[in-house]
């Protein structure tokens, strides 16, 4: 009886959270398609989609691009930049802090499609960046064509840093100043204080932040789709783009779902790694 109040929320969670995941896994074992005879009567094909995926020459590249995108834009870009900004905020005056954080948060507040168009307009051949460079007398390359991964990584750093910054700002606020002061009295340098005192104390926040931004970045679709459509060729086709292409352009829903399941597995692997690596001391 005591569990009765949670029944509706559990049901909703199962229906709307677990449901699509289970459905994707089920579909990934079929040859379900959007058109053709398998649209009407999909057949159970066992692991065919997965063996086809492993043999698909496009898959290793896509996997590599996805990991590069996550490491470059989330783990290095957003995470370190966010931490850096949060640390700096402890040292600058209130006005600077307000200005900088407004600028950073603004990119995050924008709806994804708007942010994506803004990034497209910035990196496009005749876009803002190249016009600025032209002002300096530099003939900029067509970023979206020649350096598509760099462009989407930078765009995602720009868009997502605010989240890490806010998380770290809050976490650093909880670090008692006395401990830092004590370390200073003991003769620790700034770097030593950061590495040996501050970072261990916010280890929980780091784990949470890394996990959230990794999962978010794994799933980024709109930003890349609007900026490069996964191209040129397949040069920026990360797994979400690859799955979309297969499912909705090549009409192979079953195959697309298999790619989606692989993404779920990668996300889970990252999450487990973070939780293990950054478990709070007391629980070790």
């Amino acid at each position: 009886m005591r569990l009765l109040p949670v029944v509706p929320s559990v049901l909703l969670l199962l229906l709307f959270m677990a449901g699509p995941v289970v459905w994707a896994i089920v579909i990934s074992f079929s040859n379900s398609a959007l058109t053709g005879r398998f649209a009407k009567d999909p057949e159970w094909v066992g692991l065919d989609n997965y063996t086809r995926l492993l043999a698909d020459p496009a898959f290793p590249l896509s996997l590599l691009l996805t990991i590069a995108f996550v490491i470059g834009s989330a783990i290095i870009g957003q995470n370190l930049l966010g931490l850096g900004l949060a640390l700096l905020f402890g040292r600058v005056n209130r006005t600077t802090r307000a200005l900088v954080s407004t600028a950073v948060v603004a990119a995050w507040v924008l709806p994804e499609i708007v942010a994506a168009f803004a990034a497209y307009a910035y990196f496009a051949d005749d876009g803002t960046l190249n016009q600025l460079l032209a002002g300096l007398g530099i003939d900029g390359p067509n970023w979206l064509f020649e350096y598509p991964m760099l462009a989407v990584v930078l765009a995602n750093v720009w868009r997502g840093t605010a989240f890490s910054m806010l998380v770290y700002e809050a976490a650093l606020g909880d670090v008692p100043p006395e401990i830092s002061e004590a370390a200073t009295v003991d003769g620790a340098s700034g770097m030593q204080r950061l590495v040996w005192v501050t970072l261990p104390m916010i280890r929980g926040a780091i784990a949470t932040n890394l996990m959230l931004i990794t999962l978010q970045t794994l799933a980024v679709f709109t930003l890349i789709w609007v900026m490069t459509k996964g191209g040129p060729g397949v040069a920026s086709t990360t797994l979400p783009i690859f799955a979309y292409q297969e499912a909705f352009k090549f009409q192979a829903i079953g195959y697309g779902s298999a790619i989606a399941v692989v993404m779920i597995v990668i996300g889970a692997a990252f999450s487990i790694a973070y939780i293990r690596a950054l478990r709070p001391e007391a629980q070790r």
Partner: protein, 449 residues
């Protein structure tokens, strides 16, 4: 006690909202409403205009029946995806819809289209349709599932002034692929900053990369994509490699638009709106519909096109066979398999395709007519100066392999052209990757070689 009441309230609210969500979905089985789904873009409003005109006429003739027009604003590939998603459930599937001929068979296999044989047998205007065009709506079981709105043919459109400036003798009538390349190089030399010759390629241009690009090449070689007699897809053909090599040359030598421009899905808009009127492009493969953009009231009005534009048939590889090649596609109207009112849906389709409406639509959209009474109508023949030329190209035309697997194979061809135009793969490697993909789609037993 209080908590229980809150729980009950929550369950009630949840149930109510779920019920509401359920209701708000469109009920497709409704017999009094005909839902018409079609494509509309800033460059393609002719069909929207046609349906806006037919709707009140139809509602007046059929009291009690309402026509709901649902234009989908998307390019062709996205339109097809959205339409396919709507058809996943009988509740959202449309009653009448606009369907590309090359998807008819595959969508019939998927069970989306209604068999129209009985309705057509009673339609006295059906014998006005030309026999070749009727085939476009026929499925593997021999029945007709879709009625063509019009067709199209493809050839070379060129700028007389740019070719003249490069010293090319007019009228330009290339007899082989090499002559096209030679002329393009000549243009490039005379005006290095202009596009010398465009053949569409790459995934963003979608089906256009096959129809106004690769396919025009492939069908002019000694090989073919699909052997209709044995019903097998051809792999490992030299023609496929040669066609990709032509695209590689065109893009590699900078004769075509820069790959980054060509890989923007909206390049065709630039081509019609800026490049031809602005004298930025010397030649392209394009379809018979081109004047629809330039004529009075078109999207990129440019009355001078009548004098500046020249047309030529696209040659075969070495001038072999008929010496010329064209591809035809075209769109149809079809009735949904799960329609709640098949008779009214077919009547709407028939009204939209009667002589008066077909004539108006064929002229407005610069389509090649499929009704003989429209094709011989003076208003049609005078619609633009090129319509006669492109109607004659029907002699050389090829239709795409009408099999259920074609849409997926077409997507693989687009991928192959993109790999080649960007220099990511050699023609040989791209052809090999295509062969492998085709085997994956249709199975080892349905390919040659």
């Amino acid at each position: 006690m209080r908590r229980t009441r809150a729980t009950i309230a929550m369950i009630a609210v949840t149930a109510a909202s779920l019920a509401l969500i359920g209701c708000s979905a469109d009920s497709g089985g409704d017999a009094d409403t005909i839902r018409v789904v079609y494509q509309k873009t800033d460059g393609f409003v002719a069909l929207d205009e046609l349906f806006q005109k037919v709707k009140p006429e139809f509602e007046e003739a059929n009291p009690g029946v309402t026509v709901e027009l649902e234009p989908i604003v998307a390019d062709e590939a996205d339109y097809a995806t959205k339409l396919a998603l709507m058809q996943q459930s009988p509740d959202t599937a449309p009653d009448v819809f606009y369907e590309d001929t090359f998807r008819v068979r595959s969508d019939v296999d998927a069970g989306y289209l209604l068999n129209l044989d009985d309705h057509l047998a009673e339609w006295d205007e059906w014998d006005q349709f030309n026999e070749g065009a009727k085939e476009a709506g026929r499925a593997d079981d021999g029945s007709i599932y879709a009625v063509p709105l019009g067709t199209d043919t493809r050839g070379i459109w060129y700028s007389k002034s740019l070719l003249e400036a490069a010293g090319v003798a007019l009228p330009w009538e290339p007899k082989t692929w090499d002559e096209i390349l030679e002329t393009a190089r000549q243009v490039k030399e005379a005006s290095p900053d202009k596009v010398a010759f465009n053949a569409y390629a790459g995934k963003p241009a979608g089906e256009g990369s096959v129809m106004q690009g690769f396919g025009m090449l492939m069908y002019g070689t000694d090989d073919t994509l699909y052997e209709a007699d044995s019903q097998k897809w051809v792999t490992g053909s030299q023609g496929f490699i040669d066609s990709l090599a032509f695209i590689e040359t065109l893009y590699g030598e900078g004769l075509a638009p820069a790959p980054d421009v060509a890989l923007d899905g909206s390049m065709w808009q630039k081509l019609f709106g800026e490049w031809f009127p602005g004298g930025q492009i010397a030649g392209t493969i394009e379809g018979s519909w081109s004047p629809s953009f330039w004529k009075q009231g078109g999207q990129y009005e440019w009355p001078e096109y009548v004098d500046d534009i020249g047309v030529a048939a696209f040659p075969t590889q070495n001038g072999q066979g008929d010496g010329a090649v064209s591809l035809s596609g075209g769109w149809t109207l079809a009735v949904g398999a799960n329609t709640g009112n098949a008779d009214a849906s077919f009547d709407f389709l028939a009204m939209a395709l009667n002589k008066e409406n077909a004539l108006e639509y064929n002229i407005a959209n610069s389509q090649i007519a499929v009704r003989s009474d429209v094709a011989s109508d003076p208003a049609y023949l005078e619609a633009n100066p090129f319509i006669g030329f492109f109607t004659d190209l029907v002699t050389y035309t090829h239709f795409r392999p009408a099999t259920a697997d074609y849409p997926q194979i077409s997507a693989e061809i687009q991928a192959a052209t993109e790999a080649v135009m960007t220099g990511q793969m050699s023609p040989e490697d791209a052809a090999a990757a295509y062969d492998e993909a085709v085997v994956g789609i249709v199975g080892e037993e349905n390919v040659t070689g």
